[in-house]
């Protein structure tokens, strides 16, 4: 993919913060690189403190990078024309609680140069999109967390942006709300928009993302299309057996099943299934089930984070 085609192009991004009184430096992001293509739904993953929000703040002009290159829609995040085509929902946003939902969206729409009638129409459309028309005149201080999150998404989309950056958009939403947000994101893709979003809810990412980048401790640990990251070659077999044997003495990584005395669960590669079953049976175990366990995104993140941690140690 060429740099020109990339909607977001981050190359060797690093961000260092100074602690109060400048006693020490904290490296929030180190040498992070990734590209987001036009029309993609791009997932940004990582545990807490991985550097996701810091990277997003650089992309949205809230902070400047310490080093590296960042290009958004072919320009700098500080360019007005870039921000005109970018919508952003921060993580756990705080709102102007003295405003009603309609007043708030109306003010946000003014930044995009929308005039009178067009602005009112756009505000109505956004309220409708996020299902908040019924609460349009209510003050934001009276909104629940989920309602505020919907208004946050509405303000991110008010300028009909080409690129939408969402930091934890599912946070605070119930399952129905999450599905609605997933539907909104999917509809944005259908309209040819690019969506870049971070989330802790991995199932949401697995369901809708084309590509992901995984951060841990401020570094890239994995990146690419989901299919290649969760490659079929990584499929594992899971054997459940019952017996009196000693779990410690078994091959591979066997664990006792909580709440089921005498039961154990063991994972191995598909090639090792036959030999493992034989070993288990020789030691007096009864095989209860053999299933294929496809590697989940969660497994991937945990394994990558584990690899990084062991490398650092």
């Amino acid at each position: 993919m060429s740099s020109a085609a990339a909607v977001i192009d981050v190359q060797h991004l690093s961000k260092t913060f100074l602690t109060p009184l400048a006693l020490r430096k904290v490296r929030a992001v180190q040498d992070v690189s990734f590209r987001v293509s036009r029309g993609q739904i791009f997932g940004f993953l990582g545990p807490n403190g991985a550097g996701k929000t810091t990277t997003i703040k650089v992309l949205t002009n809230l902070i400047r990078p310490s080093s590296g290159k960042v290009s958004v829609l072919g320009g700098s995040p500080s360019d007005l024309h870039v921000r005109l085509k970018t919508g952003f929902l921060p993580e756990m946003p705080n709102f102007y609680d003295y405003l009603s939902a309609r007043e708030f969206l109306d003010i946000m729409a003014r930044f995009y140069g929308l005039g009178g009638r067009t602005r009112r129409k756009r505000v109505d459309e956004m309220l409708e999109l996020v299902g908040m028309t019924y609460a349009a005149k209510r003050k934001l201080r009276k909104f629940s967390k989920g309602m505020l999150q919907r208004i946050g998404i509405a303000q991110a989309l008010i300028g009909d942006p080409e690129l939408v950056i969402l930091d934890e958009p599912m946070s605070g939403l119930d399952p129905i709300g999450r599905k609605e947000v997933r539907d909104i994101i999917a509809s944005l893709k259908q309209k040819g928009r690019t969506v870049f979003f971070s989330s802790h809810i991995l199932s949401d990412i697995e369901m809708i993302c084309d590509e992901v980048v995984v951060l841990n401790r401020g570094r890239n640990v994995a990146a690419g299309p989901l299919d290649s990251l969760l490659h079929p070659g990584r499929v594992m077999s899971e054997i459940v057996a019952q017996g009196p044997g000693d779990v410690e003495a078994l091959p591979g990584k066997a664990v006792s099943m909580e709440g089921k005395p005498g039961f154990l669960r063991l994972q191995c590669s598909p090639d090792e299934v036959d030999s493992t079953i034989q070993t288990l049976m020789q030691r007096g175990f009864h095989i209860k089930s053999v299933t294929e366990a496809r590697m989940s995104l969660e497994d991937l993140i945990v394994s990558k984070a584990f690899q990084e941690d062991s490398r650092d140690d």
């Binding site: 703040k57 003014r110 930044f111």
Partner: protein, 262 residues
């Protein structure tokens, strides 16, 4: 650019006008002026009108400056602290436009409240048989110029300091500005401290240059003595206030432009 600044102005205007502290102070200010009627009754007969005028200008200045400092120092800081700026800064708006919009929005609210205050005050004076002349209007206008400079100072500090620090600095500048004429008199006096220690003259002159002279905006003495305030004086005071406002707002813009939202 105008539309973007206007968006910030609208938001700031709504925020400030719905702020409980502002509403409380505006009510207290009006009560203050009404109470001046009672206070004037305590003075001797021929001094009553004088007290009403003096007290009215003092109340206008005190209330408006307090509103400017209290709302001005929290203006930027509150949005940084509550992270509401995370919704605005990434929008297609320059940071300098945000600062300009904040200043204009709050200045509009203060002017609106001051106009209500002045209307009540003039009403009180009218009931006491005082003719509302252009000199009274000029004196009120000059007080409002001072308030605009105080607001610009408060806004400037708000771009980088906490409300308490900003409030202390803004009020200090107001006090220093109010007593500048004393320093000026001492400097021009043929005898005294500065003549005895010539080296301190430089520090005193630097202080005069570094802080706005708020005594420029107070003409109650002339008003009470029946001396007309020349239009030229009002014009030059306007230019003086404008220059200080532009300086402090521009400095605020520079600092806000460099700010990182961690």
């Amino acid at each position: 650019m105008i539309r973007r600044i206007w968006a910030v102005v609208v938001n700031t205007f709504i925020e400030a006008s719905r702020n409980k502290a502002f509403v409380a102070m505006a009510i207290i200010a009006v009560l203050f002026i009404v109470s001046s009627l009672a206070i004037s009754q305590l003075s001797i007969e021929d001094q009553r009108i004088r007290v009403l005028i003096d007290f009215g200008l003092f109340s206008l200045s005190l209330a408006s400056n307090l509103i400017a400092v209290v709302l001005g120092v929290i203006l930027i800081h509150k949005e940084v602290d509550r992270k509401t700026f995370y919704l605005v800064v990434p929008k297609p708006v320059r940071r300098s436009e945000i600062v300009a919009g904040k200043f204009i929005g709050l200045a509009s609210v203060i002017l609106m409240s001051a106009l209500i205050f002045i209307a009540v005050w003039f009403g009180v004076l009218h009931t006491r048989g005082v003719t509302i002349n252009i000199e009274l209007v000029k004196a009120s206008y000059l007080v409002l110029l001072e308030v605009m400079v105080v607001l610009a100072v408060a806004l400037f500090f708000s771009t980088f300091a906490t409300p308490i620090i900003s409030g202390i600095f803004a009020l200090s500048i107001l006090v220093i500005g109010r007593i500048q004429y004393i320093l000026s008199d001492l400097l021009s006096s043929p005898k005294g401290f500065f003549q005895h220690y010539p080296a301190t003259k430089l520090i005193a002159k630097a202080t005069l240059a570094a802080f706005p002279d708020f005594s420029v905006f107070h003409v109650s003495r002339q008003l009470l003595l029946g001396i007309n305030i020349p239009a030229q004086y009002v014009l030059s005071a306007t230019g003086y206030a404008l220059a200080w406002c532009v300086l402090f707002v521009a400095l605020g813009m520079i600092l806000f432009e460099r700010r990182q939202f961690l």
